[in-house]
Subunit: 147 residues, 2 copies
């Protein structure tokens, strides 16, 4: 098993970051404009769609202002069963976001791609909250010939 | 042991990407403007400096147009002994860059930070080659309260 790990610091109260991870409006503002579902309810299903496909996530943990955990239940084979884990902590003027996409079976090229792409989207999240302007798909930064 | 993995695709011949990883001018154009040493010779030492410190790398493998491997011999404790591994491959109009920073002992917060920061610098490398304008330190994108 191998994991994708990232960290960003967002100049914001932790509640705003938590809202951007648990509301459809928030999620659509930084990851993909085509987001549906209920990220604010334990057991809720989130449906994220992109030009090339998408991901369905089941909300497995919600600890307001502290943690959000999603399990991937639909999408590419490599993603099924993996977990997307968000840990939040207020640190002075910043909210520290520790991000992990855990449980990849193999470090395939697609995992390398997704690691870089997650960084792009985490900076979109930071930008959304700090400047009110995120860069969700289809307005995301392209990193290679895939996306 | 845990690894940081990334991938970018750069619209360029592979030789230009290899040059940006093995010449002082190239490296200074995307990672840190304060770069010294010899990245084009096996066993050569590269000295990368940032406002908060820096990294010394020994060049361990050089396969023109295909691979560059550095071993970290100076810098923060967490980096010492880790390896920075670059694999290049021409794929149509693109050079695919598979990046790995291998051999972290623990998935500490600093590793999460470095993972996101490597993505920022890989996009700087892509930008340098595709647009002739990189964003090396101190002009790099800031991701948190550390840097």
């Amino acid at each position: 098993m191998v994991d994708i790990l990232h960290k960003v610091g967002i100049k914001s109260p932790v509640d705003e970051v938590y809202a951007a991870l648990t509301t459809t409006e928030g999620l659509a503002g930084w990851w993909t404009a085509d987001t549906e579902g209920d990220g604010g309810e334990l057991g809720g299903l989130l449906e994220f769609r992109f030009a090339a496909g998408g991901f369905d996530m089941r909300v497995r943990e919600l600890d307001p202002g502290k943690r959000v955990l999603w399990e991937v239940v639909g999408g590419p084979d490599e993603w099924i069963g993996t977990q997307v884990d968000w840990s939040l902590e207020q640190a002075g003027d910043y909210t520290t976001v520790l991000f992990a996409h855990r449980g990849w079976k193999e470090p395939v090229d697609f995992m390398h791609h997704c690691s870089t792409k997650w960084a792009v989207y985490l900076l979109s999240l930071k930008s959304l909250i700090e400047t009110e302007k995120g860069a969700p798909h289809p307005h995301d930064v392209k990193i290679d010939s895939w996306d």
